[in-house]
């Protein structure tokens, strides 16, 4: 299957071979320059490799945008077993980039993970993949087999004497297992729930050992940075958001899918030109720019560069650059209700504000949607949203509150309209 949409303006580094089944095979990948970077990295010291990644100013693509090289440098060469975890749990509504990277370029991911392992002196890589990723899991498993057979993974990586094993582990269907420490618990066979930090993974991670966890897309960029240098990567994108990024575009767009652009590309242009604007000649109402966890932007707020720092200034987050675009027919209250229900369903339930708050928000949203809300409910939503923000172990709680708070700030009229036709509120039971 060829990849659905392409655009002239794209800078395709990670996605250069999307749609090309040959690139999935080891032979095909090698023909395309694959595993050269791994060889180059093995010729350097682990610290030198980390230094290159640091200098590239690459920021993690799993949502938080934390500087990748800096995170690698937190690991100490202390003789304890180290682990590399690949976060391939991609479950954020709106996100579908890691899935494509795994499906089309499994060796790109493996190469990045092996370089990562070498750089932090880990002898074992665990790829934690979302359980529903049936096809990507098969493809990645096949690539791992090929890599072992070719001596790329295993006891003597490319004849260097370095041992790096790779294990693919499938999750069992929980969004929260994408949170790095929940992922570790799940990998260890415990309940998938986030751990309190500190201790941080670099000190106490998987199996209690120093661990480095990175997103699939983050690791897929690493071979390119090693091959072409940190300066090259920094020459793409903005000062604070270097390189290219996959933009997963979904919603009421004419063209949807993954597009790779340098960070800093204009959001409006991305939506209207690259993706062809809104379907059926409708107009745009709102955009969630970085996956369901980030605040919404209204139509007039979109003329901004898609860079971490710039989207933040606009009051939202670039997150995973998974954009959900909604047209003027979209019922915002219903959309928010659905998102909140998702978070209520996915909360691990440890923290009280999240466990109770997500479910309560969902109940209030359902009531408002059913025309039984009151104005007091809107104030209550804001209050609860605030009480759920910054008070919990992980940010799922904040994420559940974000669409509620941002939609109330920007689309309050839609709530008021529903309240306007409110039937008398049902008596409390």
């Amino acid at each position: 299957m060829a990849y659905p949409y392409r655009d002239e303006r794209e800078v395709r580094i990670l996605s250069a071979h999307f749609g090309d089944p040959e690139a999935r095979t080891l032979a095909g990948w090698r023909q395309r320059g694959g595993y050269e970077a791994l060889g180059q990295a093995l010729a350097l010291s682990p610290e030198q490799v980390t230094e290159i990644v640091k200098n590239s100013a690459l920021r993690g693509r799993g949502g938080a945008g934390f500087p990748t090289g800096l995170k690698w440098s937190f690991l100490r060469n202390d003789g304890r077993p180290h682990y590399v975890l690949v976060n391939s749990d991609e479950s954020e509504p709106g996100a579908f980039k890691d899935r494509e990277l795994c499906r089309w370029t499994p060796h790109q991911l493996l190469e990045g993970a092996l370089i990562n392992a070498y750089a932090i002196r880990a002898q074992h890589v665990y790829i934690y993949m979302r359980g529903e990723f049936f096809e990507p899991a098969q493809i990645v498993a096949r690539a791992i087999d090929e890599a072992y057979a070719a001596g790329i993974a295993g006891p003597d990586v490319l004849g260097s004497g370095v041992t790096i094993d790779v294990t693919l582990h499938l999750g069992a269907g929980a969004y929260i297992c994408g949170e790095e420490t929940a992922l570790m618990n799940s990998l260890e066979g415990r309940r998938g729930q986030p751990r309190v930090k500190p201790p941080f993974p670099a000190v106490f991670g998987a199996f209690g050992q120093p661990t480095n966890i990175n997103n699939v897309e983050t690791l897929c960029t690493v071979p390119h940075i090693i091959r072409n240098g940190a300066d090259w990567w920094r020459s793409i994108g903005t000062d604070k958001s270097t390189g290219t990024k996959l933009f997963n575009m979904s919603g009421h767009l004419v063209r949807r899918g993954n597009f790779e652009f340098p960070l800093g590309f204009n959001m409006k242009e991305l939506i209207y030109d690259v993706c062809g604007g809104i379907r059926d000649g409708r107009s745009l109402k709102a955009v969630i720019p970085g996956g369901s966890s980030v605040p919404m932007l209204a139509a007039h707020e979109l003329d901004i560069p898609c860079a971490y720092e710039r989207v933040a200034t606009a009051g939202s987050k670039l997150g995973t650059a998974s954009m959900i675009v909604m047209d003027d027919r979209t019922d915002i209250v219903k959309q928010v209700r659905r998102m909140v229900e998702f978070y209520a369903h996915e909360s691990c339930g440890q923290c009280t504000p999240c466990r109770e708050g997500t479910a309560w928000l969902a109940r209030i949203m359902r009531r408002i949607e059913a025309g039984q809300g009151t104005e007091a409910d809107l104030a209550l939503l804001v209050d609860l949203g605030k009480n759920m923000t910054g008070t919990t172990i992980c940010v799922l709680s904040d994420s559940a509150a974000a669409p509620v708070l941002s939609s109330l700030a920007k689309f309050k009229d839609e709530y008021l309209a529903l309240i306007g036709r409110a039937a008398p509120v049902a008596a409390a039971v």
Binding site: V196, S347, G349, C351, T352, P353, R355, A359, W360, A428
Partner: protein, 536 residues
């Protein structure tokens, strides 16, 4: 907990500057300064998951509120538990707790000692803002003594962690996720058979875990709580006897880091009915002209008994009580000595094996199933009879036998037939006790002050929790009057005095006093080897 060294750091909590141990958590440091920080999931005896989010405090310079239960103190830290943000977070979180909570305090056993009640009363919103129906879960029988009322559960996981970390048996878990979470046992395996599970009822901050034994038995504010020592094995767990209407209705552990931490075993916890005997010897009695027992006043009976003891012919056998304190048994041994010496014995039940607590191995349900077996050995008493604490009394023909406590429970009504003189300082009018020549009512250990030395030689005090029958007296008091009659000093007039007297008689106790023992006990001096079965 804080490290062992004496290093400290300087912090300011709510404006109070203090040096606190380096490595302490904020919640512990605050506690030291007398500042309580509301919490649910944190328990000092368990790991801290920082999940209840009640203990969030403001640390100057930190962007987010910090969970005081896991955040270590640091030099120069300025902590505020009462700032606008910290208060708002607590009030907000409390509201979430009440969202699905039934608030059925009027029928909840925890009411009165419930942390949800306490914190809500202190800082909760006056009115709930939820109009939706609450979540309803059924009552679940977890097996053993434990019921789970899921509606009240606040998901602090203390119970799960206790079973894993202290009981060493992962018998509880969180099932489901998010707001559907609940605590459950695994399939058919419940808590039945766990020797430690009862502790989860104590540490549950709310009334989600209930003791079947205590269910609806009392409102806790009607209870009196008396510090005591578990009388049911040689470990000597520190406990509280909770009493109502002069009955012990439950036993709960009391912190002693050296003995039992925050815990106790279920065997000890549930053996309290024997302290609640309604059928008691009410008044001193002696044989009348017809050979029947007749009530007689203390002033009369003691001189008569003394005279009788001094006229005896046969050997003297003294049976001590491992359910009574050192003071009673010590003066009993002394009496034997002053009467020319005799054989000192005791009987006690013993278990097949010791059962250590996996997560706190210093605590074990000991083989010796009485609190004072060890004390009796120190005083020179020798154990006799079977494992069950029976038998061992067949060679008493012609002897004068002085018995302390209910040691003759299993003996027949003609027990006194073959002996020259039977004196019982007893609690219950058992068949054998009623065959005595002198039957004198004495207190149980729950009705008086005293001490037990535990298996490690730690002497610990207990305090009176129940009213004895009006004419019953502590045995040490009776014995000291008898001893005074034998020119062995003036009668002592307090348990503490009896204990000091013990120190004069036995080097193990020399120099120790009640003041020194306090509420945590003190180790006895190096034990002296003395001929077993012979008094001092």
């Amino acid at each position: 907990m804080a490290n062992e060294s004496n290093e400290t750091v300087n912090v300011t909590i709510n404006g109070v500057a203090a040096a606190v141990p380096r490595g302490a958590r904020i919640i512990e440091a605050a506690e030291q300064l007398g500042i309580g920080i509301a919490h649910y999931c944190y328990h000092p005896g368990l790991s801290a998951p920082a999940m209840c989010r009640m203990c969030l405090v403001e640390v100057e310079g930190a962007p987010k509120l910090a969970p005081a239960c896991v955040t270590p103190v640091a030099e120069g830290q300025v902590i505020n538990t009462e700032s606008e943000r910290a208060r708002a977070a607590r009030t907000g979180t409390l509201e979430f707790y009440l969202l699905n909570h039934p608030l059925d305090c009027p029928i909840c056993d925890k009411s009165g000692e419930c942390k949800l009640q306490d914190f809500t009363h202190a800082e909760g919103r006056p009115h709930g803002r939820s109009v939706e129906p609450k979540r309803v879960l059924g009552l679940d029988d977890f097996g053993g003594d434990i019921l789970y009322q899921g509606n009240r559960c606040i998901m602090c996981t203390r119970c799960v962690r206790f079973m894993r970390e202290i009981a060493g048996a992962d018998l509880l878990g969180v099932v489901q996720r998010g707001h559907r979470s609940a605590i459950d046992t695994f399939f058919e395996t419940g808590l039945e058979g766990s020797l430690w599970a009862g502790n989860i009822v104590d540490i549950c901050p709310v009334g989600a875990l209930l003791s079947k034994d205590f269910l609806h038995k009392a409102r806790v504010w009607d209870l009196d709580n008396t510090p005591s020592v578990c009388p049911n094995c040689a470990q000597g767990c520190n406990v509280r006897l909770d009493t109502r209407d002069n009955l012990v209705v439950r036993i709960r552990p009391r912190l002693n880091p050296a003995v039992n931490s925050y815990w106790m075993c279920d065997y000890g916890r549930h053996q309290y009915e024997w302290l609640n005997q309604p059928d008691r010897v009410q008044t001193p009695m002696q044989r009348g002209a017809e050979g029947e027992l007749v009530p007689v006043g203390w002033q009369e009976v003691l001189p008569a008994l003394l005279a009788r003891l001094q006229q005896r012919h046969g050997p003297l056998v003294v049976l001590g009580s491992p359910m009574l304190g050192n003071e009673d048994n010590g003066l009993l041994a002394r009496l034997a000595g002053r009467l020319g010496g005799g054989t000192l014995r005791y009987r006690s039940a013993q278990a097949e094996a010791e059962v250590p607590c996996p997560g706190f191995p210093a605590l074990a349900r000991r083989r010796e199933l009485t609190a004072n077996g060890r004390g009796l050995e120190l005083l020179g008493f020798q154990r006799t009879g079977t494992m069950a604490g029976e038998g061992g009394l067949t060679d008493l023909a012609g002897a004068t036998v002085i018995v302390l406590g209910d040691a003759l429970e299993d003996q027949p009504a003609d027990f006194a037939a073959g002996v020259e003189l039977l004196v019982v300082l007893g609690q219950r009018p058992t068949a054998a006790a009623r065959s005595a020549h002198y039957l004198l009512p004495v207190c149980t250990c729950a009705e008086q002050e005293g001490t037990f030395p535990n298996v490690h030689g730690l002497v610990q005090r207990f305090w009176p929790a129940l009213q004895p029958p009006p004419l019953a007296r502590p045995a040490w008091q009776v014995l000291s009057v008898l001893l005074a009659g034998l020119d062995d000093g003036a009668p002592v007039n307090s348990a503490g005095g009896a204990f000091l007297r013990l120190g004069e008689l036995y080097p193990e106790y020399a120099g120790l006093s009640y003041e020194q023992l306090g509420s945590r006990g003190a180790l006895i001096n190096e034990p002296v080897v003395r001929p077993a079965g012979k008094g001092a």
